[in-house]
Amino acid sequence: MQALLDQMIQEGAFAGVPKEVVYTIAMVLTAVVVLSAFVAPLAGVTSWLERRVWARMQSRVGPNRVGPQGILQWLADGIKNIMKEDIIPTAADQKLFPLAPYVVFMGFLCAFVVIPFGESLIVADLNIGILYLLSVTSLVVVGILMAGWASNNKWSLLGGMRSAAQIVSYEIPAGLSVLTVVFLAGTLSMQGIIKAQGWRPWDWFMFHNPFTFCAFFLFFTAALAEGNRTPFDIPEAESELVAGYVTEYSGMRFLFFFFAEWGNLYVIGAVVTTLFMGGWQVPPVTDNPVLLGILQFLTFFLKAYFWVFVAMWIRATLPRVRVDQLMGLCWKYMVPLSFICLLGTIGFMFMDTNSRRIFGAITLGFAIATIINFFRRVGFQFRSAKPEAYWKPHI
Amino acid sequence: MDAKETYASLEKLFPGKVRDFKGDVFEPYCFVEKEAIVEICRFLRTAQSFRFEVLSDLTALDWPKEEKIQMVYHLFSYAHNHQIVLKVDLPRDNPKIATVEEQWKVANWFEREVYDLFGVIFEGHTDLRRIMLPDDWVGFPLRKDYVEQEEYDGISTQRAPLVEKLLR
């Protein structure tokens, strides 16, 4: 993209305009296009998907009226919420209260800058990509705390405080698990990390060695906690804190928080895919750059959506942990474990190739055994469930 | 142990404080002097042969003709599976009785309800506030001569007849 701009500048397309201004305008335009054409529908469709998936798991139907299978439900909801009255409570902080949703939204939106959808489909391949991602997603906590404080509501305050404690704590295991991958790849750049992996599952960092396999689960759990997802959704625990930090919000501002949450869900999936699952790597089937781009995009998209689906699945299944248990889980188990993973990976990097291969094979075998065992459990649940009960609930 | 034996031993231990045992009704009851209610309850709860460890129910009856409010205590023992009903007559114009909260914790709420709806004052009660009705409600609704307020906090308690409403 930059190359294209440079070429255009050299050809004299923007004669008399400073280079920086051209870059800025181009970046803003790209951002607007990405935002309106990609991110908004993405978050919206994720919300629809979550509701549908959730509904099926709860033997309900879910939204199926607007558009085919209800896929346009998010548009209808958005329009409804924009039409709504914009209420700012009198006792709320008049400046921070309206600002908070945008801070949260910005935190998640900035993350899209470094998400590599394909070999060339990335807004900016920063050389500190993953570090940038970790830091901008931390902006969310500022927004949430802002919302909690500015609402001048005790439930909001409790929610904001819980969220701050939670997100700050879970940054550590998340960061450490990311670090294991960074050590292996030797780069912080998102594209670099993907390029260090291959398209085959055994080339992924997930199955690279036992420690990265462990780090993968640590990262996914920590990411769920950072995204305020069940079982770590205590900041907005509706049965305890009414609605947590969004208690006083309504209309579009309220929607912005959830927009960010659903978008974040996709970001989690994308980061997991990038770090541990080979990103957009596809088998070398074609040389056509356009076709290849589409293939890469689809691969990445589906891999990421798989983890989005898993997060939804978890949300439909698990109850919520308590605050002290949440902190205990983080500090007593996940932080030490992620340190062990980090050190283990470092040790692994000093091994010779042969033992590395052996360990890699063992990890893969173990992973496959885990997955098979998992599906056996699921199969058991399916066999002992009575599906006809779901299809025909009214006897 | 049935209620008759319970009454017999109560009469022996607390002479003059229990009276009028009625055994030929569905649930035999006896009357207790209001001064003695706490000690009798304490005895009934702790004595090994009775062990009425549960206060099943505590309520009151209003008898305007006899000018009395009657407290009714339903005592039950899970250990011996027997029950006795104690009744205490209180004067209607100034109903006051000692609380049995020390014997059974649940009496706290039961007595609050009786205070709220009948206006019986429980002496020694730790938290004697209205429980069902707002604190500034006037009158005790479960008394037979209760007439409800015309309005409460500016809200009318009367409902216009439906026909009148339609005509308006």
Partner: protein
């Protein structure tokens, strides 16, 4: 803590928050004034009365027959039991025989209602803890029960089914078949529910050792029903003060066994409810095979005038001992109706139990005691 404040000059204030009257997990209109130190609760003072409909006072103004529909409203999640208790009191006072088929119909209807009520209880409890799916699954089953109830008595929530002398409508054979089908379908569902929720590690961790009620407290605060049995006291009115045809039926009384934590914790109370549902299924199956032929209701005069007397009828409702203390002065109207409910006493213990637990535990506590606002306020 005061020392810390004096030493450092930092004074921590208690935060007072209102849980309710409108709060997602107060199951109706309850209010707690909660004083917290951050997440820890120092004191939770229950404030009830938002749903007070003066059902007791209404009882003095309507006839015995006319009062039965009002009893439905005392606890609308388990309306059948209030019907049953009031009718038992009235029948005892009026010396009315209940037809034998009527008794069996009552047992069937009551146990179905118990299933429905417990399903609501465990489902919403799961939701309070944060698991959304079990709630919907439980309500799906309850929906089937509501459909059955509709076939039995034409109503889904406030039944007005049990009348003085028997039941309003006979249960027809086709409905019996449907109930049997439902039970066959329901039994594995309970197991599935256990796999989904009761066995969940997070769920157990949330409930084990939370809000432990000792035996002494349970007696002193007069907890009843599953809450009492959760504390390890084997006491069930169906078994110990038998009424209706329960003595002829064979069922277990589940008690808390400190399955995961200490005796009388929140999980024990929850677990007693789950096992009670299984016992109810057993009772229903027996009652359906034993039900005799005959009229569903015996002859009761339209003007029902019981002689002077009083009776305290107790039934084992889903929330425990439901007592109707009915006093008759020989007229057409009851002189006094007193409704004693399980939730009322369960509510009074919350003040004691809530000291030193967390906000999230308070929600678990309310759910595990299964308090129900309409039943508290009446």
């Amino acid at each position: 803590m005061t020392d810390y404040a004096a030493d450092t000059g930092f004074y921590a204030e208690e935060m007072t928050i209102n849980v309710g009257p409108q709060h997602p997990s107060t199951h109706g209109v309850l209010r707690f004034v909660v004083k917290t130190d951050g997440e820890m609760i120092n004191e939770a003072i229950p404030d009830v009365g938002y749903l007070h409909r003066s059902i007791e006072k209404i009882g003095e103004k309507v006839t015995y027959h006319g009062y039965v529909p009002y009893t439905d409203r005392a606890d609308y999640l388990a309306a059948m039991f209030a019907n049953q208790a009031f009718c038992m009191a009235a029948e005892k006072l009026g010396n009315t025989e209940v037809s034998r088929r009527g008794e069996f119909c009552r047992v069937i209807a009551c146990e179905l209602n118990r299933l429905a009520s417990h399903l609501i209880s465990v489902g919403t409890f799961g939701q309070d803890i944060g698991a959304m799916t079990p709630f919907v699954h439980a309500l799906r089953e309850r929906e089937s029960i509501n459909n059955l109830m509709e076939e039995i008595c034409g109503a889904r929530l406030t039944y007005n089914y049990i009348r003085i002398g028997g039941v309003g409508y006979d249960i027809v054979p086709s409905t019996m078949t449907k109930i049997a089908e439902f039970l066959d379908h329901f039994e594995p569902i309970v197991e599935e529910f256990n796999r989904l929720l009761s066995g969940n590690k997070i769920f157990i961790e949330r409930l084990a050792n939370v809000a432990v009620v000792s035996k002494e407290d349970a007696l002193s605060y007069n907890l009843v029903g599953p809450n009492l049995r959760g504390s390890g006291i084997k006491w069930d009115i169906r078994r110990d003060i038998p009424y209706s045809v329960y003595p002829e039926l064979d069922f277990e009384v589940p008690v808390g066994t400190a399955e995961v934590g200490s005796l009388g914790d929140s999980f024990d109370r929850f677990w007693v409810r789950i096992r009670e549902m299984q016992e109810s299924v057993k009772i229903l199956r027996q009652a359906m095979t034993m039900i005799p032929k005959g009229p569903a209701i015996s002859k009761v005069p339209r003007k029902f005038r019981p002689p002077v007397g009083e009776y305290y009828a107790r039934v084992e409702a889903p929330r425990g001992d439901m007592g109707f203390y009915v006093v008759s002065d020989g007229s057409e109207y009851p002189y006094r109706v007193r409704i004693r409910t399980g939730s009322y006493t369960a509510m009074s213990i919350i003040d004691k139990l809530s000291k030193g637990i967390m906000v999230a535990d308070l929600i678990a506590l309310i759910g595990s005691l299964d308090v129900d606002a309409p039943e508290i306020d009446r």
